[in-house]
Structures are given as structure tokens and as C-alpha cells.
Symmetry: C2
Subunit: 399 residues, 2 copies
């Protein structure tokens, strides 16, 4: 068994990079696929560089569930993680995060962080919210207290959390909205976006390093609305652009189609972030369509339920067939947890042992990061399309 | 922030030690306190050496809840862990463990393991068990199926699990038993002990290294029964002796008193194991009374509930006073998790985030191992009693 020697040294990328208030967000394309919209790039933030395409582990309430920041960096090789404004605002609350000196100091992740604006959470609370021109009134799922999110205060809250990349406050339209609803909703989102940028431009970062605001392209599954939305967000000359309102019930083909519609017109020289996506196959298809950044709870949430993603396919570790399989979880896995056996992991998951959720999550996250890193290499080596087509067949296998 | 460099090297003690079938369990006293019964020793097992006094983290169902084996060894500096026969027998079951090649291979802990016999669990199931001369019939708490444990099959099961130290199957008498019940119960335990040793001596280890069987001294809080029990177990010339049936509702003073009664007559040259104990204060008092080995779920179970043990006292991290305390959990802590702030840990525990349970457990276990290691140093340096009296005042503080 491999043992790890813990040397307390200053390691690689993160410790050397000096956060700088004046450092602008830079995005440089280093390679483009010829028969695909896939690109390889380097994104420079106030807390370090990110090689794109990249997957962002989700640390909703201030931690990536079950994963130490040390393992996020060293074992999973995450380069940027996501936090959620809605959750952090409710608990621990903005005052605690400010007193810590921002989220990076609070959770001890010293690399780049992106915060979602809370738009999706507010709207997934369904009936209990009131939506007006001013903003969205909602009830805390924790204690039922009422709160209002507006474009302005969501910018303020995200200034206080201190993520390197912050998101616009938008209306995440229900996936099955009809055209009229989707159009009105998009127009509200657009008016809110103007207010987001106004507030953003009238305020300063709080902790000594620059933050970037990304608009979100909405428009449901209506291509003309999506195109209108793209034209609108471009007028802000933002540091990057997100595609929102997908993976909310539409078909996978619709998701890919709308992604293509958006990336066709979004600026080449800015990163594109496809929010809430997805499975390993979705990610490769997104990269093929010109997406640079992804986030999804699937590796962690499904991991806790015993679903493992591997380069040979999907394993449902609860299945009886693994009961006496004492081979490593993933012989080509990159995480130290891959040394545990399938039988052991199955036992832990079925017994409800916390370590099972940890192992599965850590394996899946390491796999996702391996996947995008390999995709990047393939783009750089002009082999992406062939490799992607072959990988997708393997990734879909049920083992 | 300190970063850890993961060098896959063969580390320290465990990788170098060669498990040997013929290696006898050795116990050597290296120091004894002059004004106390405390001793420092070295216990050699089929999977490595243990420096006593030692605390054994509890890995009930095959994992120490929330802790990777890597962190058990490198960060917590555990030297031996505990597994539980009752739980492992029910899930994953003996067949799976045998197919793995024993528990060490299954959970990838390559150091010494001790298994409790399941006696305590069977008896803590209360009314649903039937107790006869043959053994104990019980219902699985998982699916209600019926099973019978006898001295013989509990030896067989522990041969299959493969722990280095296995425990006798005994009746763990209720803490409030009257004298007559306690006497009859002790006599049953003694008859069962004879059968345990007969079965043990008629069987072989399964995996190529020696196992040792420890008897358990019962007798409730009746000094004369305890003395009788000690005399009986000594006739087996075992590799070590456990004191059971304490920390089950009697007062702390009764626990200490019974411990003294037992250690007064147990052989000096064999390790003494006080089962299910205890708080940091209990452990120091136990060491003072000549105990060498301890196990308890308190650091992990109470940790998951937000109770932290430190050298300056006890912290209830849920307390509002820590909400904005951004100082490290324990400035003199030995675990990497001690770098996280109190405010962050409080947030995680209150939010029900898994990482909170992990951090608190890991801190507590590292603290327990630090405590016994420091006690050992003090014994070796002839400073134990003075240090213990001072430490106990600090350990009892509520911060």
C-alpha cells in the first residue's frame, strides 16, 4: 500500500501566486480544435490561474461535502470551486464571513472561487417566493424567515463573500415555460442585469483583489430568445459569460442545441460557463460546443448514493455484483481513495458509513478533474474530436 | 497555509514491519512510575508494535467514522484500531471479509487491530435476546433476523475477521445488577471463557499471523467478585487481560475503584485493557491505576455532535460564543484539521455538513493520541503524577 509522506511544504501553484488587487481577469486561448468548437485556455483570477476547460466542485454552504481543502487541491486537483450565495447568506451569514475576511479565509481554500448569485435557489423554492420588478422575496428553508434578494443587494452580498467570479442575479425560468413567459422573464433578467452592473461598478472589492461579474444568458429552449440574450450580455463587455436555465428538465438534445446557439455568438476571447452541467458525457459534449467552465453536484450527490463515474463507465456500487469484488475501485483512478476495494466501498455505502460518501465523492471529483484535464490535453494535441467520440461510448457503459 | 506534499513513499513503522506467523505477542515494560501504577510499555503484535499506554480509535463496522486509514496513521498517529465482531458479522458478513483476506485487507489498515467479541452489543440489545448456557440468541438490529453467538462460534468469527487481538465472549452484566445476579453472571462468563480458550487453542489463524485472545474480567462493582474473576483469568496465562463491565452506569469513583481492584492483582508483565473508557480525564486516571489500553467512541461520537476535547478544556463548538471566533480550532493541536477556524467548524456542525463531523472527529482522535503519547513520555521521564494532576484540572475546564 502506498503511504503518503506529509511534508508541510509550500506547494505548487497556489502558494506562489500573489493575489493582486489590480490584476485584471485575463483569458487567453492557447489552442482551438479544428473540427470542433473546443478550446483550451488559461484564466487568470485574483487567486490564481485556471486551465480551461475546467470543472468546478460545488461547495454550496462553504464546504465541498466531505472533502478537505487539502484533498481538493492535492488529490482531486481542483483549480476553482463554487460557493452559493443563497446558502451562505442564510448560514453562516454575511457578517460571519466578513469577520473572517471573506470566504477564502473562512474555508481555507486559497484558490479561485465562483459564487452563484442564488437566483436558481430562490426560484427552485417554487411557490413560496414573490417575484416583482424589485426582486425576489423568499422564505428561508431553514427557519421560514422572509428575505428579499435584489440585483443590488446580491452584488453587495457577493462583494462580502469575496469570490473571484460572481454571477448576475437573474430569473431562472421554469424549464417548461411557454414562449410568452420566457420572453417576459428574459426581459426582467435583462433589466436586472443592468442594475447588477450598475451596483457592481459603483462598489469596490472588499479584500484587496479583483472580482469579475459574469452575466447569465437565459431564453429557455427558444433559439431566438437565446440569441437576443447573447446580444444583450455582450454589450457589457464582461470578463466571461454564463449559459443558464439549462439542465432544468429540457431534453439533452435541447440542452446541446441551446448551448450551440449561445456559443455561436458569444465572444471567442471570453470564457463560457455552462451552469449546472453535468454528467461526464454532457461535459465532453459541452466542451465540443465551445464551453470552458462547468459545475454540477452530480459527482458529490450521486457519489453519496453510490454512483461512481469511471473512464470505463458507470458503477452502481450498491449492486450485489460488487459484494465480493475486492479489486480497487478504479485501477486507473488518480485519487488515493481509488486504492480501496469495490467490496469495501459497497459495504460502507450500504451501511450508511460516512467514509463511503467521502470515498465515492472524492473518486468522482478526481475523475471529473481528470476528464477535463485530459480533454484539454487532447485539444492541445489536436486529437479532441476522435478521443471524445470514443470516450463517450465508454462513459455511457453501465458496468 | 501549510500545504502537504504527497510523496508516495513507504512510510515509517507499518510498512517496514513484517507480519510473522510465528511472532509471539510480546509485552515489555520500559518504565514504571514510582508514585503511581502507571507504566510505559511496548506491545508487539502480528502487524506491528504499539507503545502503551495507548488509545484505540473505534472502527465499529470497518471504518473509523469519517476517517481515512491514511489519516488514521499519518495525522492521528493511531497505532491500533478496534473493530466490532457483532457489526462485522451482520454486515458485510464473514464471507465477504474472508474473501478479502481478512479485515486488514478489507479496510486497508495495515497496523494492529483488536476486535471486541460482540458480547457488549448482544447484551445491550436488552429484551430481545435469549441467554442460555449455550450462548446468546439475538435479533439483528438491521433486519430482525435471528442469530446465536456462542463462545465457540465467536472465536471462529474472530479467526475469520483476523484481528491481532481478539476478545473472549462474555456476559456483560447490567451495571445495576445485584450481587446474586452478578455472581451467577460471572460464573457463566467463566464457563464461557474456558470454552473460548478451548476453541481458540483448537483452531489456527487464517491469514498467516498470530492472534492473541484476551479474557475479560467482570464482577460489576463487587470487589470480591472482581478479585475472584482476576484469579480465574490468570490461570489461562493469556497475552493480555481486559477489564470489562465498567462505564455502564456506575459512578466514576466506582469505576476507578474497580479498576484499582483489578490492576492490583493482574500480572504486571501483561497489558491491561480497560474497555469502553473514556473521557480524557478517565484515561489519565486509568493510566495512573495501571491500565495500558483504552477504547471509546467518545472522541468520534461526541465530535460529530460538536464536542471538542483540547488540552485547555472542552469546547462545545455549537455555542454562540464561537460564532465569530476565527482563531484556529486548537493552536496547539497536532492535526492538520486544527488549522480550520472555530467559526468555520461551528458553521459546518450547525449546518449538518459532513466535513464538520470529520474535522471534529479527527481533531479529537489526534488529541486523544497526543494525550496518551504525552502521558507515556511523562512516565518515562518520571514526571507522570505531577503532570497528570495538573492536566486533569485543565481537561475539565469548559471553555
Amino acid at each position: 500500500m502506498i503511504r503518503y509522506l506529509y511534508l508541510p511544504v509550500v506547494s505548487g501553484r497556489m502558494a506562489i501566486f500573489e493575489p493582486s488587487k489590480n490584476g485584471a481577469m485575463e483569458f487567453k486561448l492557447t489552442a482551438k480544435a479544428s473540427n470542433s468548437r473546443a478550446r483550451a485556455g488559461i484564466l487568470t483570477t485574483g487567486h490564481g490561474v485556471i486551465e480551461t476547460p475546467i470543472f468546478m466542485p460545488v461547495g454550496t454552504a462553504g464546504s465541498v461535502k466531505g472533502i478537505h481543502t487539502r484533498d481538493l487541491e492535492e488529490d482531486i486537483k481542483a483549480q476553482i470551486i463554487l460557493g452559493n450565495t443563497y446558502h451562505l447568506y442564510l448560514r453562516p451569514g454575511i457578517q460571519v464571513i466578513e469577520k473572517a475576511g471573506g470566504l477564502h479565509k473562512f474555508n481555507r481554500w486559497n484558490g479561485p472561487i465562483l459564487t452563484d448569485s442564488g437566483g436558481f435557489q430562490v426560484f427552485s423554492l417554487g411557490d413560496i417566493r414573490k417575484l416583482t420588478e424589485e426582486g425576489a422575496k423568499f422564505q428561508s428553508h431553514i427557519d421560514g424567515s422572509y428575505h428579499v434578494f435584489t440585483p443590488e443587494n446580491v452584488m453587495d452580498i457577493q462583494r462580502s463573500i469575496g469570490a473571484d467570479i460572481i454571477m448576475a442575479f437573474d430569473e431562472c425560468t421554469p424549464g417548461d415555460a411557454d414562449y410568452s413567459y420566457a420572453k417576459n422573464s428574459l426581459e426582467l433578467t435583462q433589466r436586472w442585469l443592468e442594475r447588477c452592473f450598475t451596483q457592481f461598478n459603483n462598489t469596490e472589492p472588499k479584500y484587496g483583489y479583483r472580482q469579475s461579474l459574469f452575466p447569465i444568458v437565459q431564453g429557455n429552449t427558444y433559439a431566438d430568445l437565446r440569441k437576443k440574450a447573447v446580444e444583450h450580455v455582450k454589450t457589457f463587455d464582461a470578463d466571461g459569460y454564463a449559459i443558464g436555465g439549462l439542465s432544468v428538465g429540457e431534453t439533452v438534445d435541447e440542452m446541446y442545441e441551446m448551448t450551440e446557439v449561445c456559443t455561436a455568438d458569444l465572444p471567442e476571447n471570453k470564457p463560457r460557463y455552462l451552469m449546472g452541467v453535468g454528467t461526464p458525457v454532457n461535459i465532453l459534449e459541452g466542451i465540443d460546443r465551445g464551453v470552458d467552465m462547468f459545475d454540477c453536484v452530480m459527482p458529490t450527490r450521486n457519489g453519496r448514493n453510490g454512483m461512481l463515474f469511471t473512464s470505463e463507465g458507470i458503477i452502481n456500487i450498491r449492486n450485489k455484483k460488487w459484494e465480493n469484488d475486492h479489486s480497487p475501485i478504479d485501477a486507473s483512478g488518480t485519487s488515493f481513495v481509488d486504492q480501496y476495494s469495490k467490496a469495501y466501498l459497497r459495504h460502507l455505502i450500504i451501511s450508511g458509513e460516512m467514509l463511503g460518501a467521502q470515498i465515492a465523492s472524492q473518486h468522482n471529483l478526481a475523475f471529473y478533474l481528470w476528464l477535463v484535464k485530459t480533454a484539454r490535453q487532447k485539444i492541445v494535441n489536436a486529437e479532441f474530436k476522435t478521443w471524445k467520440n470514443e470516450m463517450i461510448m465508454r462513459l455511457k457503459e453501465r458496468l
